[in-house]
Symmetry: C2
Subunit: 202 residues, 2 copies
């Protein structure tokens, strides 16, 4: 059975925690920010800069080829992002080929599609996501629920844009996943146990 597990996740749904715990339970590698570190080391770009481009401040995703074909100028920011994505893909492939692993985000489900990973998508309703953010305390401090919900949607929108730009597919579309799991009404621990139970059978 496949021990390469990719996880797409809505912000605040607990997807990272699910990924970390699955990796712990199975005794296999876990990657998310580590990938960025790897990329940064190889491309000699500062990690913070890479992180900013990939996650927090997405640039406008004009396909590079379009810029070149019609304008005959090269958008250096787009080119840099393309290079980062290419490097990121290499790193992800190397990691998956080296050992069994859980990879959260980073279009890994698409990048590794020929290796047939188990593709999970973790989601939850908005009240659960708000509650999780408040509990973790790393988002939403001093924000009303309404504003935090807007912020959560904004982050997801950025993820969707990034995913769609590099894969040509719709982020969160169930067709791109083997299993979509709602974390709204069960504990992460129970969900992880259930997934492990499932993995033992397939």
């Amino acid at each position: 059975m496949s021990r390469i597990i990719t996880i797409g996740r809505e912000f605040g749904s607990g997807g990272r925690e699910v990924g970390k715990r699955i990796a712990e339970e199975l005794g296999i590698a876990y990657y998310d920010n580590e990938i960025i570190t790897g990329i940064a080391q190889r491309t000699e770009l500062a990690e913070e800069y890479v992180h900013q481009i990939i996650e927090n401040k997405p640039i406008h995703y004009y396909p590079i080829t379009v810029g070149q074909s019609f304008n005959n100028t090269i958008n250096p920011l787009a080119q840099k992002t393309g290079a980062i994505y290419a490097e990121q893909s290499n790193v992800i492939r190397e990691m998956a080929q080296t050992s069994d692993c859980v990879i959260v985000g980073r279009c890994a489900d698409f990048i590794l599609r020929d290796l047939k990973p188990l593709r999970l998508y973790i989601y939850a309703d908005m009240p659960s996501r708000i509650a999780r953010c408040r509990k973790k305390g790393d988002h939403g401090e001093g924000m009303s629920d309404r504003r935090l919900a807007r912020e959560i949607r904004r982050i997801d929108k950025d993820r969707a844009k990034y995913y769609s730009f590099f894969t040509g597919q719709k982020w969160g579309d169930r067709c791109n996943y083997d299993l979509c799991i709602n974390t709204s009404s069960a504990s992460i621990q129970d969900i992880v146990s259930a997934i492990i139970g499932m993995l033992e059978k397939i």
Copy 2:
């Protein structure tokens, strides 16, 4: 743990088979057409007629109240469908309250929401659904793949209309399910084993 399991499913995805096998494995009741039979017996409508209205030849779903408010006439077909739905809801509630069970379709996830059933949604990509229909042999004989795909989409569209009319929710929207399972690349037997493994943990 909840032993009431509802299953929504795309046509041709194997949802009925998943439901039947889960019920067999757990030794609990299984319902789908049985519900219609129950309704037909209670309302003294011919089973075939009920089936035709509910699944195969959906009427135009004008909400009854709108018809009454603005037109002051009553659409007898809509009224009949409303009555069937109400009766169906009663039957489903009785079944769920009587014993643990698996219920396929019929908006059961919505009707039983206060009982917190485990809500599964079974889906697959179009090539798998076409292959499954051909294998079962009950749909698509003499049809090209393209025509069969159109027929599959039409059936799903009818299900979506029916679900949306009676629940006010979008059919297939992952938020309405606890677990969405793609049957494209695993056998139904493996998927059922995996779900049973999962059920033992939550």
